[in-house]
Symmetry: C2
Subunit: 192 residues, 2 copies
């Protein structure tokens, strides 16, 4: 098979991410968000907010991370950020992303698998910012949807503040703005 054929088969395989549904609804829509459209959304979110990163980042690497960050969900599905992260789940996602990236020519397989692991580890400046951005749209969804997903999954304000305070590890300034919005949601009774 030619290299281009291999890549086209990969392109068809990743269509499946369009059928992985998340736990929040896009603002104004009466359906859940899928992980493919979420991936687009976080890329633009990162691009437009890049100047607010705590550390110097390479936004082009951040965008590449975010383009591939959810590919493991094709085999494993999406898990709400408030669920306990089990070692099994993480291991299965790693197996899933490896299976999919393995469809690519060898050099690309290695490059993007390493990038995915860098994202997952969340230790580099690029991955800290990418992970911070990944948390923003679901918060905006809840804030514009009367806390729909928080209520449905019995997520408390303590969980919301604790889990999302990690946004500050990527961007203190962004977390400051989001935190104020969450405090307003507590005041209005949307977040309990």
């Amino acid at each position: 098979m030619s290299q281009i054929e291999k890549i086209l088969n990969f392109i068809v395989e990743i269509e499946k991410l369009k059928n992985v549904y998340r736990k929040t609804r896009p603002v104004g829509l009466d359906r859940y968000e899928n992980s493919a459209e979420h991936s687009w959304h976080v890329c633009l979110c990162a691009l437009m907010l890049k100047d607010y990163s705590n550390d110097d980042i390479n936004i082009d690497r951040v965008i590449k991370m975010l383009l591939i960050h959810d590919l493991g969900e094709i085999d494993c599905g999406d898990t709400i950020v408030y669920a306990a992260e089990s070692a099994d789940l993480k291991e299965n996602e790693a197996i899933g992303v490896k299976r999919i990236l393995k469809m690519l020519p060898d050099q690309q397989f290695k490059e993007y698998l390493a990038l995915w692991h860098e994202f997952e580890a969340g230790e580099s400046a690029d991955s800290k910012f990418a992970k911070a951005i990944d948390r923003v749209p679901p918060l905006l969804h809840n804030l514009h949807d009367e806390g729909h997903s928080w209520k449905k999954h019995n997520v408390t304000k303590e969980q919301v503040f604790s889990v999302n305070s990690r946004i500050g590890e990527g961007s203190e300034e962004l977390w400051g703005v989001i935190k104020r919005k969450l405090e307003e949601a507590v005041s209005s009774g949307t977040l309990k």
Copy 2:
């Protein structure tokens, strides 16, 4: 309003692209594709096929183009590539994308509006490659879906070859592979 607040409002506004439906169905799915998940898909398609561009390109600019290329559809909807391009439609898309990008801080507004116009013009190496890539997934959809959209919209093989031969302006090698697939579809009777 702070710059971050402006950007967050933009991030919420562009959610609407998740509700703009296109004319083809993702492989294996019984629903039409939306322009947000399509935008993610073409970014990864461009990234993985970048080495097959005819000309030297800056893949990071190509990806940014593809992230924003359909924002004008929020106000105008999607148009099938086989429809005649009217000056009115193009003008309305330009107005739409301007309205949305205007929500951003001024420097970003100017930068991304210029990038969108560069994509639309299709004259630079980056935009030629981006436009070539933009045509690939809908062809894969039809090839894996018994020509569903071609048949529904009475698209002939002459139209398919004529309109998509422009893929060759971005990548001759990619067009060679796609063309063979289309010829097979003609042989099998999927494309008439």
